[in-house]
Symmetry: C2
Subunit: 219 residues, 2 copies
DNA sequence: GCTCTTGTTGTACGATCGTTCAACAACGAA
DNA sequence: TTCGTTGTTGAACGATCGTACAACAAGAGC
């Protein structure tokens, strides 16, 4: 009986988990490794250690390293786009307010984070030579582009008529560039300007877009 | 004599070269490997093969791999900044013409090149965890920032007085972001817009900067 | 023609990489 | 309580990595 009690109280050396949950833990560990150690953090052993599991377990849940990384990239992308969409939907219905919410979310945590840049940069470095990464990019970046395009469309629709009419395609290209560029600059050197200043620059760009009455720009 | 002639005509199996030239060849091979194979091209063996020399030679000219990569990064940075400066100096003296030349050089080869982005991205990925790369960045990026800042300064000085006065610091931040963002977008997806359109967007931004007479932006 | 310097080669070493796989153990079902 | 499923472990493999080093040879100086 004492033996039985001892055995009953004996804590298992490890716990079995559902595949879905374990997979997510491994994905989280992968991203954490990227944040901490950059490209060198992308080793199966480092990821297994970070997740607190053995090396061999990864290959039980993912066929190989590339698939794990692609899954982590997909998760990272989805979290960004979903976060931005949620911020926009929580904002008042006015197009300008929705756009402002988008800017604010873009220049706040967790998106505005030097560690996040470190993760992105490693993924970008794989883009050209990894068909898996390219596929994930295509499927998830679409949502981001569509969101921004929609906001610009309703913004221009509600504004007084412009002369000449705004080129929506070029407007989206320019605003995306300004957003990404500011985001990149801040992550590289957070001391160089405040997030509020970045938002101000973006707002000014949109102001210019909807208020302009001459043909000096965007043609 | 026949033997002597044969020996005399025997081509050396390899040629000795001055350290400076060999170092440059190794640096060029490093960048070429980055363009072709991305981060995976950064192996001593791949670089030696690309340069057409043996593996051991690299460590004769560079103390270790990190120093070689740092040297390649310095060369890559210097070529960019020197190229832009040369383009600006070749332009007419008018501030606006100098700025236009800067835009044109930014959105032309060899700077505007998806392969160049592949190289930059690998270097950026090392930035956070490599003190060597950080040092090189500090010493060479300075020239780029100063060049753009000077051009903006003379541009604003020659323009009619603005109300309120232009915040030169924020203007430089915004223009840099727009430039980098457009450059990045095009390298990721060259089909999405033409380089001339990117130049147009930058010109429009500068137009807005020097012509505006209301306080709606850049505050 | 000989010698000396040194740019260059080729091999070897230890470490670390991704992957495989047999054995183990947790835990629900019978 | 026993059995079967399967999530999990840990060791092992071959490949590749960066580095070190002894031997070689090209080319200048004498």
């Amino acid at each position: 009986m004492a033996l039985s009690a001892a055995r009953g109280a004996a804590k298992p050396r490890w716990e079995r988990q559902l595949p879905a949950q374990r997979r997510q833990e491994l994905i989280d560990a992968t991203i954490e490794c990227l944040k901490r150690y950059g490209h060198e953090g992308l080793s199966m052993r480092a990821i297994a250690t970070q997740a607190g599991v053995s090396l061999g377990l990864i290959n039980h849940h993912f066929p190989n390293k590339d698939e794990l990384i692609a899954a982590a990239y997909r998760h990272f992308n989805t979290e960004l786009v979903d976060g931005l969409k949620a911020a926009v939907q929580k904002a008042p219905a006015a197009p300008r307010a929705r756009m402002r919410a988008f800017f604010k979310a873009s220049f706040s945590r967790p998106n505005l984070d030097p560690e996040a840049l470190a993760v992105w940069v490693v993924f970008w470095g794989m883009y050209r030579h990894s068909p898996l990464i390219q596929g994930v990019h295509r499927e998830s970046y679409q949502g981001y582009v569509q969101l921004l395009r929609d906001m610009l469309t309703e913004l221009v629709r509600d504004a007084p008529r412009q002369t000449p009419p705004v080129d929506l395609r070029l407007a989206a290209i320019g605003l995306t560039a300004l957003l990404d560029g500011l985001w990149l600059e801040w992550c590289l050197e957070p001391a160089s300007f405040r997030p509020a200043e970045a938002i101000g620059l973006c707002e000014a760009w949109v102001d210019h877009l909807v208020r302009r009455t001459d043909g000096s720009a965007l043609e």
